[in-house]
């Protein structure tokens, strides 16, 4: 009995898998995206880039393949450290008797600090942090923001779109009004408004750490496209004969909406979700660049680019290159995968 009723929805997903495999571009893209996901999981577990914030190299450490390049900034800093002796305050400082103790403690700590290396695999940033580790950790943050925000926006958009499309009448009127309100405010202004409110308001401290501020901003402003699409699909499907047939056998409205129609529009939602991920990652990068995104104790592709702007002028291009390459490869692969997904799911092309 179970064999009959609980068949997994074969066609939708296994057929999709098969078609993706036949599409060479799609298969390669899927491989790249999967590799990124593994990298992110490792980074989250701390096995990879766990020490991204440790200052392991000299400032602006050269990439290993450019080890011979003169590093003026590191040399300057070293000199200032050597020369910058603290003036002697022994005679006036009441804490003077403890100087020796402190000196001893400092000595102990200093000895535990490892020697800063002159080169790093892909160079170092202003504080001598490993750029490659930063790029890996930054991928984790940027992609996580994009995916989580896209899932939230999809949830809101799908739910409201399904209600408006399925019920029509006043439900639709009300939600259309809400949609009009949200879309008549230019997106970037809505984002800025939210950023202004969330960073100075009573919830500022709640969201101060972590990615939630950005996620909320993106989801709150980005659900409208999904809503429009899902609403249109539901309007189309609600009068399809298979839905009427379900109504005729007595299936409830909720069952028709989510058990009958939803699987049949899921491909549209999936493709739009992928597009949202790409769009949200790009917006997150810009917001973090502007200091409105992830908090300063986190690293994302955006914060890396923010540092890279000034570094480029003094010829330190590696952080810019690392952030750009990591981001471009992921987004290209993800976009290509979305295209393949769209083709594979398109009922007309079957």
């Amino acid at each position: 009995m179970a064999a009959v009723l609980d068949v997994t929805p074969e066609n939708a997903w296994t057929a999709l898998w098969r078609r993706l495999h036949q599409d060479r571009v799609g298969a390669v893209s899927l491989g790249i995206v999967a590799a990124y996901l593994v990298m992110i999981l490792f980074a989250m577990a701390g096995w990879l880039a766990g020490g991204w914030s440790v200052e392991v190299g000299v400032p602006y450490a050269n990439p290993s393949f450019l080890g011979e390049r003169p590093n003026l900034e590191a040399a300057l800093q070293k000199r200032s450290q050597r020369q910058g002796k603290v003036p002697d305050l022994r005679d006036i400082d009441p804490l003077a008797p403890r100087y020796d103790e402190w000196a001893k403690r400092t000595q102990e700590l200093k000895s535990t600090e490892p020697e800063r290396s002159l080169t790093l695999p892909w160079g170092g940033d202003r504080w001598g942090r490993d750029v490659l580790d930063k790029a890996i950790k930054g991928s984790q943050v940027s992609i996580a923001v994009g995916v989580v925000a896209a899932l939230c926006a999809t949830l809101i958009g799908t739910l409201l779109g399904a209600l408006a499309g399925f019920y029509g009448r006043w439900v639709s009127d009300l939600l259309e009004w809400l949609y009009n309100v949200f879309t008549s405010i230019p997106a970037i202004l809505l984002i800025f408004t939210l950023a202004a409110v969330l960073r100075s308001g009573p919830f500022a401290s709640v969201f101060a750490s972590g990615i939630w501020t950005v996620v909320i901003i993106l989801a709150f402003t980005g659900w409208t496209g999904m809503y429009r699409l899902v609403r249109a699909e539901y309007m189309k499907h609600r009068s399809r004969e298979y839905v009427l047939a379900a109504q005729a056998i007595g299936a409830s409205a909720a069952s028709r909406m989510f058990v009958h129609i939803l699987p049949n529009v899921s491909h549209v939602i999936l493709v739009q979700l992928s597009l949202l991920v790409v769009a949200f990652i790009k917006v997150e990068v810009v917001l973090s660049f502007l200091g409105l995104g992830v908090p300063i104790d986190m690293v994302s592709w955006g914060t890396m680019l923010a540092e890279a702007q000034n570094e480029l002028i003094i010829g330190k291009w590696w952080q810019l290159a690392a952030a750009t390459v990591f981001m471009a490869i992921f987004l290209t692969a993800f976009s290509m995968l979305t295209d393949s997904l769209r083709d594979a799911l398109d009922p007309k092309l079957r």
Partner: protein, 312 residues
């Protein structure tokens, strides 16, 4: 037509009411205490209370909403909390710089993207088409920030073809000296997604039955594209462009920040950083109204492109 426009104008009212409510409650419920922000960190309680009274913050919320609505309707937003500049003056003085770069960007993008899209649609499936599309996807995957950072560095700083940044009081000097680099960068970045989108519009049309009819008449492929497909594909293209138009007011904020252009987008960004609420609220609400009016104009324009649409 007049009836249609009047009706649409009337429909703006509830939407605008929604925008006002949304903004009001966003700031009311989630925003910081204006008095605290205005007075600064080290103000005494008396000072804060005085500001409260002045702004009407000691009144119940509906009275505050009333004050808010009155400000909107009378165009009297008072002054920026930080710079003490009149908000209406900020609006009028910053908009010209923004439009000097955004309007050329919009025109240039469309002028480049439509022919390119038509070309690759004509050569669909060939190596040319596939390589252009692959380049587009790759180009879209790089952040706009990178284009600006690298473009500014290479063309402004390194090669010295354009000034790195700056702005003047002369419109022509701005347009031909300071604006070209940001305009070109933005137009080239916008080219990839638009080409991709417009190509899909053209391809959708080439699959239509009327294209088969045109072939059956004996028309050549270029003639079919020019006479039949272009006119039909223009309908979604115009829709897309009309969706881009509201972006001319603040869409260029990144360029303005990078190139120190005293435009509206940069002003908003500064206001966000300074928690300058009156500026943010005023710009948001007025630009929403402008957006609604532009959308209405686009719909009217639309009926000229597509004869199937009748405005009633």
């Amino acid at each position: 037509m007049a009836g249609y426009i009047l009706r649409r104008l009337w429909q703006i009212v509830p939407t605008l009411a929604g925008v006002v409510l949304l903004i009001f409650f966003l700031f009311k419920l989630f925003g910081g205490d204006p008095a605290q922000i205005l007075a600064g960190q080290i103000a005494s309680q008396e000072q804060i209370d005085a500001i409260r009274r002045e702004l009407g913050l000691d009144q119940p919320w509906y009275v505050q909403l009333g004050i808010f609505v009155r400000e909107i309707l009378t165009f009297d937003w008072g002054k920026s909390w930080i710079t003490r500049e009149q908000v209406s003056h900020i609006f009028l003085s910053r908009l010209p710089a923004t439009l000097t770069i955004t309007i050329p960007i919009l025109l240039l993008e469309a002028a480049l993207a439509i022919p390119t899209a038509m070309l690759v649609a004509y050569y669909r499936g060939t190596l040319l088409d596939r390589s252009v599309m692959a380049i587009c996807v790759a180009a879209m995957s790089i952040s706009f920030l990178v284009y600006i950072i690298v473009g500014q560095y290479v063309f402004g700083f390194h090669l010295g073809w354009f000034p790195v940044q700056g702005w003047s009081d002369s419109f022509w000097r701005n347009l031909f000296t300071y604006a070209p680099l940001p305009i070109l960068l933005a137009a080239l970045v916008g080219l990839a997604p638009q080409t991709r989108l417009y190509r899909s519009f053209f391809l959708d049309e080439t699959k239509s039955d009327y294209v088969r009819t045109a072939r059956a008449k004996g028309l050549s492929e270029p003639a079919i594209l020019r006479k039949h497909v272009l006119r039909n594909a223009l309908v979604p293209v115009v829709t897309n462009i009309s969706l881009l138009i509201p972006g001319v007011f603040v869409g260029s904020f990144l360029l303005e920040i990078f190139f120190s252009i005293p435009g509206l987008g940069r002003e908003i960004y500064l206001a966000v950083n300074r928690s300058d609420y009156p500026v943010i609220q005023a710009v948001t609400i007025y630009l929403s109204v402008l957006t609604m009016l532009i959308n209405l104009a686009a719909d009217v324009l639309y009926s000229f492109v597509d004869p199937r649409i009748q405005l009633r």
